[in-house]
Each structure stands twice: as structure tokens, then as C-alpha cells.
């Protein structure tokens, strides 16, 4: 087996375990390359089908191409697409771009809070109607008890400590210091009422693995990752006020792989284009403890 085959096999195994154990299972899809690979792996695991909803948290500050890309694939691949957002904060302009919050506070409001309340079903969810192509209010308000997330251990410190199946309490809090044991591919699949489990099938993948797999499988990714002739591209995607392109002339997947292996990015962290990580050392850990992906 090649290393990509091994990674794929393990991720597929985890996805199938999740599917067997959680009645209310959902997968978070940020439209970025990692969660798109995750989605692809779900299609691998279930032979072309995706038997659970995909949840997207819309901050309204996402780069517009991302939303177009999301809906195009959702229709093409027959996905049960659901989104949620913090409409109240947006209406009241309680955001960083409106000058009311710091970057980190804004992340917490538009992403973490929206995520936690969308997952629990407290705030409305909108579901893609495949007949009309429009979003309608989702009748299903049941909390998702299993949430599949595309985090990778190599992204930053706190993620390197994650389990494949990671329990979250009622407030979505992550008890980092007291994680359950996990070995021999036996995962934590029993959980108390009111709590839920985050499932991380991509934990063992690196940024380079992701790109190599995208190339090998010919997975569609958003063109924002490629240089469109301006000498810059996005390496990591988020909201436009806080995500900046990096200088790069990589125009396709192969060129990105080359750049990661030998070029100037080989020693530079992937999230270096994400401003919120820099406000407080351990900032991302703080966010993640309270539910951020």
C-alpha cells in the first residue's frame, strides 16, 4: 500500500465507524480543501453516497466563490446540504469588519457560536432543496450527536493532541486534559445524553498528503487555491477580512505540491495567512476548547 492508500483506508474506516454508531451524524464542510477531501472520503466509504447531512457555517464574510462552489457540488453529488449562521450578530453588526469586535471575538461570534447552536438545533438550519436549488428552513431540529470534522494534527499544537473520536460536553467544551483512551481502532462511541462526539478522520494527514490525494483522485477544489495570474493564491481559506493570499505562482495542484515539497513554503506554517491565530498565544486552543473546529 502507498502512504495515501493507508491514510485513505484509515479515514474510511473511521467514517464507517461513525456512521454505524451515530443516528444523528453530520459532517462539517468549510468548502476548503481539507473538508472537501473529507467529503470525497465519505463518498469512498459509502460507495458514491453521502448518507448524512453536510453542515456549513456561513459567516456572510466568506469569499463569494466559496458559496457558489458549495452549492454546485451539493447539487451534483446529491448532498444533503445544511447551513446555519449567527443572523442576530450580523443584523446588529456585532462583527470585526464592522469595527465592533476583535478578530478573535468575531471568530467566536460568527463561527463558534453559530456552529454550537446550529449543531444543537437551537438556531434555525437551512437545507438545500434539490428541486428548486434554494435553501429552505430545515424541519429537523434534533441535535447532531456525532460531528465529523476535517482537522489535521499537523495544523497547530492543540490539534496534534486530538483523538479520532473526541467527546464534547453540553457546552461543546473540550476537556483537553482528560481525553478518553483510544487504541487499536476502538473509539469512544458511547456518550451521555446531551454530550456529543467530534470525529476526526483526517487527523493523520498532512497538508502535502491532502494535495497529493487531490491530485491522485482528481478532486475538484475551489480555484482560489491557485494563482490566477496575479502572483498570489490562498493557502488556507476563511473569511475575506481575515484571510490573506500568499505570494505564489502555483497555478495547479502539481505546482502546489512542488511548492510544498521544495519551495518557499516548506518550513512555513499553513495558517500563517490567518490573522486570528496571532492575537494570543494559545488563542486557537482557547477557541477550540469552546467548540471551534
Amino acid at each position: 500500500m502507498t502512504h495515501l492508500e493507508k491514510l485513505e483506508s484509515q479515514s474510511v474506516y473511521i467514517l464507517r465507524e461513525a456512521y454505524s454508531h451515530f443516528k444523528n451524524l453530520a459532517m462539517l464542510w468549510s468548502i476548503g480543501k481539507d473538508s472537501t477531501v473529507l467529503l470525497w472520503l465519505a463518498r469512498k466509504a459509502f460507495f458514491g453516497h453521502v448518507p448524512f447531512p453536510l453542515v456549513h457555517i456561513d459567516t456572510s464574510f466568506k469569499i463569494p466563490e466559496m458559496i457558489q462552489f458549495r452549492d454546485k457540488l451539493a447539487l451534483e453529488w446529491n448532498l444533503n446540504m445544511v447551513y446555519g449562521s449567527n443572523t442576530q450578530a450580523l443584523q446588529e453588526k456585532r462583527t470585526f469588519p464592522a469595527g465592533a469586535l476583535t478578530r478573535l471575538e468575531c471568530c467566536k461570534t460568527l463561527k463558534t457560536d453559530a456552529l454550537v447552536n446550529t449543531l444543537s438545533g437551537k438556531w434555525p438550519r437551512y437545507r438545500l432543496d434539490h428541486q428548486t436549488g434554494a435553501y429552505v428552513l430545515d424541519e429537523n431540529k434534533e441535535p447532531y450527536t456525532g460531528v465529523i470534522v476535517g482537522v489535521r494534527a499537523d495544523e497547530e499544537g492543540s490539534r496534534s493532541k486530538e483523538r479520532y473520536f473526541s467527546p464534547r460536553d453540553k457546552q461543546s467544551d473540550w476537556a483537553v486534559g482528560d481525553q478518553p483512551p483510544e487504541f487499536w481502532n476502538q473509539f469512544k462511541t458511547d456518550f451521555a445524553p446531551g454530550t456529543h462526539i467530534r470525529i476526526h478522520p483526517l487527523l493523520d494527514w498532512t497538508e502535502l498528503d491532502i494535495w497529493e490525494y487531490i491530485a491522485a483522485e482528481n478532486i475538484p477544489v475551489i480555484p482560489l487555491y491557485f494563482d490566477q495570474g496575479k502572483g498570489e493564491r490562498y493557502r488556507s481559506l476563511g473569511c475575506y477580512p481575515c484571510t490573506f493570499p500568499v505570494k505564489s505562482t502555483a497555478q495547479n495542484v502539481q505546482e502546489i505540491i512542488e511548492e510544498l515539497k521544495t519551495g518557499k513554503f516548506k518550513d512555513i506554517a499553513e495558517r500563517s495567512g490567518r490573522a486570528q491565530d496571532k492575537e494570543d498565544s494559545g488563542g486557537l486552543e482557547t477557541l477550540r476548547r469552546s467548540g471551534y473546529m
Binding site: H3, V12, A153, S160, D190
Partner: protein, 596 residues
Amino acid sequence: MTLSKLPKMNIVVVGHVDHGKSTLIGRLLADTHSLPQGKLEQVKAECRRHAKPFEYAFLLDALKDEQAQGITIDTARCFFKSKKRQYIIIDAPGHIEFLKNMISGAARAEAALLVIDAGEGIQENSRRHGYLLSMLGIRQVAICVNKMDLVEYRQEAFDKIEKEYRKFLKEIELTPKVFLPIAAREGENIINRPARMKWFQGPSLLEILDSFEKAPSPQDKPFRMPVQGIYKFTESGDTRRIFAGRVESGAVSVGDKVIFLPSNKRSTLKSIEGFNAPARKKISAGYSAGVTLTEQIYINRGDILCKEGEPLPHVSSLMKVKVFWLGKKPMAMGKEYKLKSGTSAVPVRLKEIKRVLDASALTKLNKKIVERNDVAEVVLESSRPVAFDLSSELETTSRFVIVDEYDISGGGIIAEVVKDEQSPVREQISIRDQMWDFSVIDPEQRALRYGHQSKLILLTGSVGMDKKTIAKELEKILFETGIKTYFLPMGNLLRGLDAHVESHRASRREHIHHLGEIAHLFLDAGIIVVATASNLTDEELRELQEVTERDSIVIANVGKNNFHGPIVALDLSEKENPVKNARKIVGFLKEKKVLL
């Protein structure tokens, strides 16, 4: 982070707390220039700002609490590479408090470095971790005697520790690859041969890492694929019925005769399914796969798909195992736990404690419970038979974990099969099914034609409870709705097939067996059999389940329920009108989709 197409290997670093595990890894990362640009300077600057001395461990201990307390709480994974391959180094915490984290990290590894502080010498967790490595099946271990600077780099100090620890490893049957003296903080013998220990001929730590070998793939072992799920996405227009799972060992090809255990069902491999992948005729160890079969048999998640003609797993409800216990509450006799092995999950009890070991000292403890961090040899009894291999035969399928309420609280390996009461029957049935000449009409076809599955509805309860009237009413209702059904009271069997048997009381077991065999024929013919038998015990029911098939029996109990296990599907009151009771059973059959 750059990782090229070099092979990958997982290495875990274990040992007692403060013996220098995190430092060793931090040093490896720094000296091989594997840290992200600027990381070393950034951490050093931060230390200066907070006026605390720089530690290489800070490069790994990423959690705030970890830096504040200066210890590793949970395993971290670090990536680094040598000329030969890429490593994923797992930093395991050494503190006893975090043993569950150490195991989580170590179980992933293909090789281990065990660190011992030269100054402090062998400590409790130096031993406990050594023992757990051997239980986790990690065979390649290098012992690093660290902080050699504290003993002025003297060879005698090193030799003394080596001698003592070798003796311990011998007891637990673990052969170390090498002992090597290092000083992680000083960078001695990490990537280069030591400058201050000329008496040591090498190798360096990096050379040792590169000399570890990849474990051979268990491809040449018997085929095992624990079933994760049976998928049919009919609503999306897909009619395939796919048995999904990962091949844990061996290989299987289209056309091979296969058997599911413990349910003992057989079929032939029709196809290997995939998505966006070239068509395959064969799958082998490591692949997450999906297969279809020529016959449409009913099986559940948890069975192991095996290949006929190869050594098969054992099937029993009793097994002798080695366990390590991590639960906050001790493992106690009589309490019900969940045993998860492969993809199966069954209720299990601790039947007997053979011995409890203090893993840190390897002394035998005289205890009646297995407490947190203990290692023990025990006998487990599951409420249903389980299919498994022994750790000496096939590692993956010999492993299990034990769940207490919501938490994985222990783990272990199965060392021996203990024959349970049903073992002789099971063997007979296995031969019967192997030699059986099957009809060309498969059960699903029959079920489709008849509009229902076949089932054995078994009415039981004490003598005097009127089971027969209910049974006859049930037969009537079913018959009138066009269902193929037949009333079979135990008494008819005694007067017919078993009329020659002299003492009915002494031969009760034989009668039960015969009831099972007759029901098996009816079930095979697609019929719903309505049988009655008084005073059925748990053990007798287990026998019936072996002779027919586990899921083909529905137990309806009239009056007081005398079973010990949770095996009654329907509790009926003897005071209720028999027709109402019969209707209740029909309702159950509809709900369970026995009637299609």
C-alpha cells in the same frame, strides 16, 4: 512542513515522568532542522520574556496547562524526517495519572524508545511502560539511558542500568533492540556519535531510528474482515447490498467461498466494490473494502468475514485474557461491561480472576478486583458467543477493549479459548452447515415470494401457563393473512420423533436439540414456526440459537420471566386473553419487518 514520498513510521517515546522524553524529541526536531522556520527562536524568546529557562520540551508541550505545569499531559504527534524515511514521533506522558494517554499514543506505534534517567535509575513507570509495550504488541524497542551528564558520562552507571533493566525485560519476554547512552538536553548521541562517551561504539539515536524495520503486512495470514456495516442505498437508486469492512489480515478474491463468524453463515464472493477506483478481483490486508455475495444472506455488523479452507477464528463465550485496566472504578466480578473486539460489541462479565499483577513491580497481588493501572489475567464470559483469534496466532483480531458505561476502561488480548457449554454443539453445527447441500432458492428469494421472513416464535414460561392456546391463535391469524406457518408444540416432538427415548427428563437436552434441528428445516423452508416449550432455561435457549440461527428466534414468555439474560423479546401476561396475546406477537412481527 515538508514530507516527501519517503516511507512513514510511527515511533512512540515512553518512560517515567521527567526522564526526558519530550526533551529527546524536541532535540531531535531541532537538530534535524525539522521545526517550522523561526519556531525555536520564538519559543526561546517567549521563555526570555516570561523569565523562565528554555526547555526543548516546550517545542512539544503545546497545551497551556502543559507549559504551566511543565509536564506532558497528552500525546503529541510530531513530524520529522531522516534521509531514510519520515517519522511521526508520539510523545507519551510519563505520569501514571495519564496512563490512558500513554497507551493511546503507544498503540499506534511500530517501534518505541523507552527513556530512563541515568541519575534516577529505573522507576515504577519505566517498568510499567515496558510491560504495556509488550502487551500492545510493540516488538521493536530501544532503551535510551538519558541524562548521562548527571553521571559524568561514566560507562559503569550505564552498564548497571542496562543489566538491571535487561533482567526485567527478560521476565516479560521483550527483547530490546539496543541500549544506548544519551544526554538529550546536551545533544549527546542524538544525531551524531557522542563526543563525551568515547567508550560507546554507537549507534546514535538517529541511526537506531533508521534501523527499525517496518512490520510485515499480515497479508499472508488467514483472511479476516470484521463487518462494519451492510449498506444498501436504495433511495439513491443503488441496489447493491454491500458488506463493508477493513481487511485486517490475509486476502480474498472474487469467487472465494466465505463464512461469517460467529453467525456461521456461508456464501461466495461475487464482487469487490469501490468508488472512483479501478475494478478489483482481490483485496488484501489494510484495505477498507466492500464486497457483494452471490446469496443474499442476513448478517449483522460485528461478524468477521473469513475464507473457507483457511484456519478460522475461535468461537466461544468464554476466553482467557490479559487485561490492563484504566477505569476510575475498578473492574469487579459480576458487573456487566461491554466487550468491543473488531466491530462487535457484546455484554461481558468478569468470571474469574486468575492473577493480578502490579505491572511496575511484576509482583502478584492477592486481590479480588482489578484496579486502575493494574494488569491482570482473567476469564471473561460474554452473553453471546464471540469470534476471535488468539494473540499468539493473529494479533489484530485477538484485541479487545472493555467499556464501562460510556468509557473505554480497559483493553487486552485474548490468550486462550476456554470451551463453553455450547462448544460441542457449535462444532457439530459447523460441520453440518459445511456439508449441507443448499437449495438453489436463496432465503431472500423465498422471503420475497412468501411476503415474510422465516422465524421461530418460541412461546415459553412455567408449566401451567397456557402457551398452546396463544400459539394456536397466532397460527390461525398468520395463516388467515396468507402467511406460511406451522404449529409445533414440544409434546408432538416427544410423541413422534423422540418416542423411542426412554426417560424424557434425562434426555431433555436431546429433545431441545431435536426441536432446534426441526425448526432449522422449517426456517430453511421459509416458514414461520410457532413452537411451545415449558421451563426453557438460558442455556437451552443458547443451544437452540446455535442449532438454528441467532436472529431467527423470537422468544415470547408467558407469565413470570425466569431467564437471567435479556433474551425475551415479548413478555405476555397469563391473565390476558390469548387472542390479544397472539395479536401482540403479530404486532411485534410487523414492527420488526418479519412480515414484509
